[in-house]
């Protein structure tokens, strides 16, 4: 057995997994869009069933300590998490990816200063950055904070990709023929985003979903009555050792959302989103 053998058939497997990921994300969008219709009870409705009832025909996901239907709550929680994650991903893409790509083409001194500053932020766990931004603003801005926390890494990746293109053959020819730097930047951004936008978006979605759910779990995210999956799991912490379903189903929904985003982004096993 070689430690260095490449994976034959990897492109086909990767394409299939990406398709599964996008398909899963599509299904989640449908479920989230229809969450008010699919849920048996409105968000936060207490006393719908008996307290801490195990999964049954009437309550497929069981009920929690306040007698809330966990199937309905999980759907509503997924809706809140996915909505916030989409907003946060957009922030990460614009502030991180797009700004990083533009920064790579700025005058050298400014470009390197920005790269260095973002490198410092990227050396701090994104979770801590998100907590810091929420602490400096308000819990209301948790999606913005998650997006900003994921941005430094996206910036560094975008910067490095475009910086590599700056020394490519097409860039040298363009400069030699007198094409303006702004035109070259526009060209690179167009191609860069056309080819990688879907992957970058899925990657950002996976990253911010993890950050958002974790800050909520730690008490810095969503506030009741609006509950996301992280907050649901945090609330279930007190009972889940004897009522596993209170944490298991929200956690399962969260893992499925992150898994689909990871597969859509074609991330390797264990790769940081």
């Amino acid at each position: 057995m070689s430690v260095t053998s490449p994976t034959p058939g990897a492109p086909m497997l990767s394409a299939a997994l990406r398709l599964i990921g996008w398909g899963g994300l599509g299904l989640i969008v449908v479920a989230v869009s229809l969450s008010d219709f699919l849920a048996h009870a409105p968000a936060g409705a207490a006393g719908v069933g008996p307290v801490l009832s195990a999964p049954s025909e009437a309550f497929p996901f069981g009920t929690d300590l306040l007698g809330r239907d966990l199937l309905s709550e999980t759907l509503h929680g997924l809706s809140v998490t996915a909505g916030h994650a989409l907003l946060a991903a957009a922030v990460a893409i614009v502030v991180g990816g797009l700004f990083g790509a533009v920064a790579a083409r700025l005058p050298r001194a400014l470009s390197l200063t920005l790269r260095g500053a973002m490198g410092v932020l990227a050396a701090i766990p994104a979770l801590l950055l998100a907590i810091l931004v929420i602490g400096l603003s308000a819990r209301l801005y948790a999606p913005l904070a998650a997006g900003l926390a994921a941005a430094p890494l996206a910036f560094v990746r975008g910067y490095d990709r475009v910086a590599a293109q700056s020394s490519s053959t097409h860039a040298e020819y363009a400069r030699a023929t007198g094409i303006a730097a702004s035109t070259l930047l526009r060209r690179d951004l167009t191609y860069e985003f056309r080819d990688t936008l879907a992957t970058v978006a899925a990657r950002a979605l996976a990253a911010v979903t993890i950050i958002l759910s974790t800050v909520s779990f730690l008490g810095f995210g969503a506030t009741p009555p609006s509950r996301d999956l992280g907050l649901m799991i945090a609330a279930a912490k007190a009972n889940y050792l004897h009522a596993w379903w209170t944490a298991a189903f929200p956690a399962l929904a969260l893992v499925v959302l992150i898994l689909c985003a990871r597969l859509a982004a074609a991330l390797g096993e264990g790769e940081r989103p």
Binding site: P8, V120, A123, I124, P125, T214, L259
Partner: protein
């Protein structure tokens, strides 16, 4: 080699300077000042000067010097990160080597994708559930019983209480370790030296052991910064989930209670740890990859 080490030392110095500037800006939020940007920048400048003199201010929560307070909490986090890092190497290295072999990887890939999609707090809660129900361990999920239990202690209950946070951090680190090893392996798969060595009569095992393995380990070392970042992130969550009174737990409480001096100092230490690990890893990787060439 010396030139490369000097370059990395320069990068480390710049990184630490940036982290100090960031910490000074955060710390300035707590400084008494007049409203306005100019006043804030002045306060940040004063905090930066104080930082250079190793004066990190006082904790707004305890009233103690921030450095002293952190000094009491940091060993807990470092023990967690070190023990988790050791576990990450023990679990991640065999996994990385195993997954380098394509049939095994293809079989295990879906399971690994699911496992690595779980956020650290979900993994921690799942481990606690398993330990409580299958092993009948005492778990510190809902009570701060572990706050006074040192990680490296001989007593059974303390070991049980320490095992779960270490496992949580270790498994998060293992994912990063196996990925770094696998990437190192893939980068070396197409290297031209393999054909040359085969023509020289070396067996596949000799090529792997003498030439490929050091380069794969170099790949792992080159990503040491990423692994440290994964361990630190996991430590934050593990300390919160399992009620460990470490620096990461202190950070969460400091932000919640707006103790900006403490927040700034912890961020500086964490960024410094990542930069230092990254620097040491890159130098080690360079030395290993270029062994015998200088």
């Amino acid at each position: 080699m010396l030139k490369f080490a000097a370059l990395q030392a320069g990068r480390l110095a710049l990184g630490l300077l940036g982290a100090t500037l960031l910490a000074a800006v955060i710390s300035a939020i707590a400084a008494p000042r007049a409203p306005g940007l100019a006043s804030f920048l002045g306060a940040a400048g004063l905090r930066l000067w104080a930082f250079v003199q190793f004066d990190f201010g006082k904790s707004a929560i305890s009233g103690l010097m921030a450095a002293d307070e952190l000094g009491r909490r940091l060993p807990e986090t470092m023990a967690l990160v070190l023990a988790g890092g050791g576990l990450a190497l023990m679990v991640g290295a065999p996994l990385g080597i195993l997954f380098g072999a394509s049939p095994v990887r293809r079989t295990a890939a879906p399971l690994m994708q699911i496992v690595t999609a779980a956020p650290v707090f979900c993994a921690g809660l799942a481990l606690a559930y398993g330990a409580a129900h299958l092993l009948h361990w005492t778990v510190s999920i809902n009570a701060p019983v572990a706050a006074s239990a040192p990680i490296f202690s001989g007593e059974t209950q303390f070991l049980e209480l320490s095992a779960l946070p270490v496992l949580t951090v270790g498994l998060a680190g293992a994912a990063a370790v196996q990925l770094a090893l696998r990437r190192g392996a893939v980068e070396n798969a197409g290297e031209a030296y393999r054909t040359g060595l085969k023509r020289m009569g070396l067996s596949a095992l000799e090529i792997e052991w003498v030439y490929a393995v050091p380069k794969v380990i170099a790949g792992l070392l080159a990503r040491a910064g990423d692994i440290m970042l994964a361990l630190l992130s996991a430590a934050v969550v593990a300390e919160w989930v399992f009620h460990r009174a470490g620096a990461a737990d202190l950070f969460v409480k400091s932000v919640a209670l707006e103790d900006w001096n403490m927040t700034a100092l912890i961020l500086f230490i964490f960024a410094g740890l990542t930069f230092a690990t990254d620097c040491a890893g890159r130098i080690g990787a360079y030395a290993l990859a270029n062994e015998g060439e200088e």
